[in-house]
Amino acid sequence: MRDKAQMVRRRDLLSLIGAMAGSSAMYHAMTSLGFAAESRYEGRIKLEGDPRGASVLILGAGLAGMTAALELRNAGYSVRVLEFNARPGGRNWTLRGGDRFVELGGLTQACEFEEGLYINPGPWRIPYHHRALLDYCRRLNVALEPFIQLNHNAYLHSSRAFGGRPQRIRAVQADFRGSISELLAKVTRQGKLDEAVTSEDQEILLQALRSWGALDRDYRYNANLISSESRGYAKAPGGGLSAAPTPSDPVVLSDILKSRLWRYLQNFANYNFQTTMFQPVGGMDMIGKAFAKELADVITYNAKVTGIAQNDGGVTVSFVDTTTPARRWTATADWCVCTIPLSILSQLPVQVSDATKAAIDAVPYSGSVKIGLQFKRRFWEEDEAIYGGISYTDMPIRQIAYPNTGFNRSGRAVLLGAYLFDGANAYEFTAMPPAERVARAVEFGAAIHPQYRDDFECGIAVAWHRVPFTLGCSGDWSDEARTQHYRNLCQIDGRIVLAGEHASALPAWQEGAVLSALDAVLRLHERVVRT
């Protein structure tokens, strides 16, 4: 966890680089700092050669398991999938009106959202460079729509700055960029960059700063129509007699710096969050359902794995049917692709080498909480002109994410009223009963949107440490553990190979699950056709 503190500092640095030098400089900085792990997808895999009737047992019908099942079956294997839940998808999951969710400890929530409204408690956005997942969406006819990561008219909010009043992202971004441009122009013109920048480049730099920072002809970032074109107007351009716009007043650099609102700008510059991002139309689980439709005859639901054994001849998996748990079942196959989260696999008797077992035991699972809230009306659109996107805050709820669909409609809508990932607040929210999580999210959110108090109707809260099928959100590798154990985790151990986001360099992303499954089946197939 110590490297987490360093990571925050690195990220602060990155956000500064991003804000000052632009996203391409930030990308290069991120690559050198190891952040911009790119999807390695090179198109649909080809499993050539005859598996001669070999059978594969796949544990888990999440995206990793179903990717493996689909590709292996297409290559001629006999496949069977065991899934703990009564539905496909795993963390690829959507909660809609009429759904019930029983968390660990037994507390039950009924989702009372209006028909058609939903939240995605797990993954909710797909970067354009997650090419493998996008390819499966195309092959499986999953319709996509834009996920809006950056809405300039959403808010950045600090409870300790600007009297607690939320600030428009547009204005914070423009003022931060404008002030830094003004500073840089000033030192350039004072000759303080003479050693670092040639005089010819200084001329160009000044032009760039004036354009990029919305500076006036004296290289000042001031209240005028140039800066207002970036940060917004006091009175916007109109028509007729009162058409002339009035400039707005920029916030001075010192106030922006002390507010710490600049720290949220990384959420728009980071490679993982750059436009274009996508979401499936109708809910993230459309992907899991589309996979499962292809695999309907090979998935066994309600199957809780209790042990995994292997010898030279094959793999034997014991499991119980959770609807009639008294009876024990076994399934056998020549090979096994195991996508069970390590939080669960580490507790099972699994016949693997000491090195693989040590790797399975080396990964803690992070906490995360998402809370969906239904309101009578889209007040964020009607009153505040916020259409999709995310507001960020230093309050424990961290984010308010507006629906990226159904724009400009009247009637009810659901927004994401909290998204906590890691850190103390995620644990604090997990430890509350679900009804209190929802109530607290409403209470905090009302500080940004007072309309919450009149328009809130109902909510549902998912704390991932309380989710029965994962016992956590995702594998939280430390750098040390990854160095020591990652290769051992991914090696084929006898007749068993592991896959899932935990076996990828894209932790907590669906792309990581898919890529790890493709890599696992490629290596498995190579071994099968070779022997």
Binding site: G367, G423, F456
Partner: protein
């Protein structure tokens, strides 16, 4: 019938007030509760640390829970007899359990370990000190 209508009217009036519409929820949110402001925890007493962190997985009664996997029960748990074991697990984590060494001070870890070792059917009276936790960090 008349009674039901009366209730509806009362609720209708309540919804006009600047309160949360759901009275139960309003109570839930008005109880005092500590929220940490950074990556590290602000809670100090063993009882509050347990209630705001540990019970997320080990549950309010410390009995744990079972789904596809299990959160072990801490109640009447003989593994807690040797105080070094729970201290080590809280500092460094164990399997899927996250390490809390960087999110809690020596005093906080001592407080929560002492709380668990003297509650939920546990009665181990040899208290852990902040110094013990400091040693376990090495």
């Amino acid at each position: 019938m008349g009674r039901a209508r009366y209730l509806c009217l009362v609720l209708g009036v309540a919804a006009q007030l600047p309160l949360l519409p759901d009275a139960i929820s309003a109570q839930e949110a008005s109880k005092p509760r500590t929220f940490s402001t950074g990556y590290v925890f602000a809670e100090t007493s063993g009882e509050e640390l347990f209630a705001n962190i540990c019970q997320g997985c080990h549950m309010q009664d410390a009995m744990g829970a079972t789904g596809a996997g299990t959160y072990p029960s801490l109640a009447s748990n003989s593994y807690l007899q040797s105080s070094g074991y729970p201290v080590h697990v809280v500092v460094h984590g164990r399997r899927a359990m996250p390490p809390f060494g960087d999110m809690l001070s020596d005093d906080q870890i001592a407080a929560v370990v002492n709380y668990v070792r003297t509650h939920f059917g546990n009665n181990f009276r040899d208290a852990v000190t902040a110094g013990d936790v400091k040693d376990a960090r090495r």
